[in-house]
């Protein structure tokens, strides 16, 4: 779908900021989330989790639990099949351990009982005999040939010799002659970096309500970023047909990538099947931290060469990501994203994915990119410091643009990086004075953005209103954006459109709400669905007027004769056409199904000012500005919201958030008290500057905006703190003990 070339168009409603359609439900407490649904005869499900980081399950005795009054079903891996498909098997094994528990918190049994209290009691009655195995949680340790092996036989053909079996895959990208490039450099800096695993930290714990009757028909209500993918996974694991399992996405209390897979849903369905009753499972916060997907932790080496003038001559990155106890493909994305912002003659990135005894990583906003770009942007900043160059000017000098051969292979089309950098350079924030102990940091960010499988059905109601059925859970206001695009295309007011998110039986397959895809892909499909409905409406008007269909055009919400030759008829509005639809051929609708491509990459630039307390190492964020290209901001409030929310998640990642493991391999901070997401008093306002450089792949020029904003804060904060204290920091989070340690070492 190409950008509409007539799109010097003046948008009428796209770009405005109307109230979101789900607003009243959400401010009155009526919106129904994962844990808010009940069913008659419902049982409470609860899950038994491993206290060990790594152990063989010698035996599980569930007899005492089964005998407890009120217990209706107990399940273990013995109640599940073994899927042939490796990916599906991994998903299932993560939901219910088979043979071994692979991390602290790994599920290995579950009960359904008449109350939550009885279920909890029953869990305590399950007797497990564990044979404790050596464990490994650090990525570098896990790569060593003598490391404890998390899973045997999972290395792909591309992993080189001399490494532990924990290394599951290797990748390499780049072009040009590195040696020649480094030879041209006046200064080469090599640094090693580490970043901790962080959690998406959505406030709503995973929750679901499952029923599966004796005839094999099932219903599942759950909070998810993708009800269709949940259906694929659950139907596959349960061995039932997709048509027999209807999955309804509840309102979702945050996901950020973490709700793109299943953890409890197959367990609830299995309990429901065994008990013959509906089963609800709601995770505790502790379970969310222990057993859902944080992001990867990383260990990275970066080497960059620069001329005295600031031109980068060669760049190299080696990235090692641990993604928990199951294979993942996250380092590929980091390796491709690492140098995306730069126009480089010689670049190489290498990546290794590694297994450890930690929960399986899940996607988290631009998965794999933030840590790689943090390391790269840190070294670029240090080069600028040492060569006494302006860091923004250096970024501009080296910025990728249309025609640049990207570090991951393709040549860039229209991208907004230069304009974004120029906007940052011109902004008063960049030239504002700083006081002692303060520092300013800058970082570029990048994400690929994706499209994907999308279906939209658009119905013209006889009263002139419009209903849109789409299949992607609304996380950040997408129902508003989709309604806006439909209203724009149809030429009717926004409040005449209502968009709903359908269950899996009501619409064709939709990919998960991920990859910053919804406003782009669902928007695109909505525009096309509206266009097909418009074609029908023009046809109806043509018949009423007795003229040729192609002599009718659609303008300002009305069918009109194309010109004086077509005849002199007063325009017919959408409502007028809809009112007589029964007489003119029946209901009017449009629909569109596509596997959308052309999402267009996204760049952002962040500026951060911090002040560091030199006596305690505490960092205070004083000022923060986000610059990002949105292509076209459909609902600017929610574009800003993505930019602000992503930035603050990145700030948390940079300063305090981390998974902390003890020597025993147990997670020590499975709660919001010691997993420190930023609170309101930690932050300044997050200022935003939206740029609109149309995406050539969308009729309105829309670009996804959701993921890029989490990428730059890591380096922006690290560069700011490093400049404030006069010592380079190479590890996240920059918790006060680390910062104070660096200050004291500096002397």
């Amino acid at each position: 779908m190409a950008f509409d070339q007539n799109s010097k168009r003046i948008f009428k409603v796209v770009g405005s900021r109307p109230p979101r359609p789900d607003g009243v439900e959400k401010v009155t407490g009526r919106a129904l989330y994962g844990a808010d649904m009940t069913a008659p005869g419902m049982l409470s499900g609860a899950i038994l989790r491993s206290p060990h980081a790594h152990a063989r399950i010698v035996s599980i005795d569930t007899s005492a639990a089964e005998a407890l009054q009120g217990v209706k079903a107990v399940v273990t891996s013995a109640d599940f099949g073994v899927p042939d498909d490796e990916f599906l098997r991994d998903v299932q094994d993560n939901c219910m351990a088979r043979g071994k528990v692979l991390y602290h918190g790994h599920a290995l049994g579950a009960v359904a009982a008449t109350s939550a209290a009885v279920a909890k009691q029953a869990l305590a009655l399950i007797v497990v005999d564990y044979e404790i195995l050596p464990h490994v949680t650090d990525v570098d340790a896990a790569m060593r040939p003598d490391a404890p092996v998390v899973q045997e036989g999972r290395s792909l053909e591309n992993v080189g010799p001399g490494l532990s079996q924990n290394v599951t895959s290797y990748c390499e990208f780049g072009h040009g002659d590195l040696d020649a490039g480094f030879d041209q450099a006046d200064l080469i800096i090599s640094r090693s970096f580490k970043t901790a695993a962080t959690h998406q930290g959505y406030i709503e714990p995973h929750a679901c309500l499952a029923s599966l009757s004796a005839d094999g028909r099932g219903d599942l209500w759950c909070c998810t970023q993708g009800q269709f993918f949940v259906r694929t996974l659950c139907a596959g694991i349960l061995g039932i047909e997709a048509s027999q399992l209807r999955v309804t996405a509840s309102e979702i209390g945050g996901g950020f990538g973490g709700k793109t897979t299943v953890f409890i849903e197959p367990v609830a369905l299995t309990l429901a099947r065994k008990s013959g009753r509906p089963v609800k499972i709601v995770m505790s916060r502790e379970e969310v931290f222990k057993a859902t997907g944080p992001t990867v932790s990383s260990s990275m080496d970066i080497k960059i060469g620069m001329t005295r003038e600031g031109r980068i001559t060669a760049a190299q990155a080696q990235l090692r990501y641990q993604g928990g106890a199951f294979p993942c493909g996250t380092v590929e994305m980091g390796a491709q994203a690492a140098f995306a912002a730069y126009d480089l003659a010689a670049v190489q990135t290498q990546g290794w994915n590694v297994l450890t005894n930690r929960p399986k990583e899940a996607a988290y906003r631009a998965p794999g990119a933030p840590m790689a770009i943090y390391a790269v942007e840190s070294v670029v900043d240090e080069l600028c410091q040492q060569l006494a160059l302006d860091p923004l000017a250096v970024r501009l000098m080296n910025a990728a643009q249309k025609g640049t051969l990207s570090s991951y292979g393709p040549t860039f089309d229209d991208i907004g990086l230069r304009a974004t950098l120029e906007a940052a350079q011109a902004h008063p924030h960049y030239s504002a004075p700083l006081r002692p102990n303060q520092g300013r940091g800058l970082s570029c960010g990048f994400w690929f953005n994706f499209g994907g499988n999308t279906c939209v059905s658009l119905n013209i109601n006889t009263d002139g209103t419009v209903g849109i059925t789409e299949g992607n859970p609304d996380i950040g206001g997408s129902r508003a954006s989709i309604s806006l695009m439909a209203a724009e295309e149809l030429g009717i007011p926004y409040d005449k459109v209502r968009t709903i998110v359908a269950d899996t039986s009501s619409l064709g397959y939709n990919d998960v709400t991920d990859g910053s895809r919804v406003t782009f892909s669902v928007g695109l499909a909505t525009i096309e669905a509206a266009r097909s409905a418009i074609k029908v409406m023009c046809g109806r008007a043509a018949r009423i007027w007795g003229i040729e269909e192609d002599a009718v055009i659609w303008e300002d919400g009305c069918a009109k004769p194309a010109g004086p030759n077509a005849g002199a008829f007063p325009p017919m509005s959408l409502a007028e056409i809809a009112a007589v639809s029964a007489n003119t051929g029946g209901p009017i609708a449009g629909h569109f199904e596509v596997n959308a491509d052309g999402a267009g990459v996204s760049f952002g630039v962040h500026l951060a000012d911090v002040e560091v307390d030199p006596e305690t190492g505490a960092t205070k964020v004083l000022r923060y500005t986000v610059f990002q290209d949105a292509g076209k901001a459909v609902h600017p409030d929610y574009v800003e919201g993505q930019m602000q929310g992503g930035a603050v998640q990145g700030i948390g990642w940079a300063l305090n958030e981390e998974y902390i493991y003890g020597a025993d391999g147990r997670l020590q901070n499975a709660g919001f008290l010691d997993y420190r997401t930023p609170v309101a008093s930690d932050l300044p306002n997050i200022d935003t500057v939206i740029l609109e450089i149309p995406n050539p792949g969308h009729p309105y020029g829309v670009r996804g905006v959701g993921e890029t904003p989490i990428v730059p804060p890591l380096a922006a904060l690290s560069n700011a703190v490093s400049r404030a204290i006069g010592v380079r920091l190479n590890e996240l989070p920059m918790s006060p003990p680390k910062v104070l340690g660096a200050i004291m070492q500096r002397g």
């Binding site: 190489q348 991920d514 491509d597």
Partner: protein, 81 residues
Amino acid sequence: MVRVKIWGSLRPLADGQSEIELEARTFKEVLDQLGARYPALRPQIKRGVSMALNGRIYREAWFTKIPPESEVVLMPYMAGG
């Protein structure tokens, strides 16, 4: 004739080449011919590859037409958050 660029870690599986010339008019023909010529690439193709055509990433669309003189780059299949 299209020249298909492959990423670094695939090169050892394709006789060390970084660009491969193929007679292909669509993404599917690219995949089929790569797999036929270099069987070692088949596991990765099965796991998922995307194609960047003149800078635009097509994740799955087999029948994406490849005009002459196009830049064709293979990429690992990716997903976001």
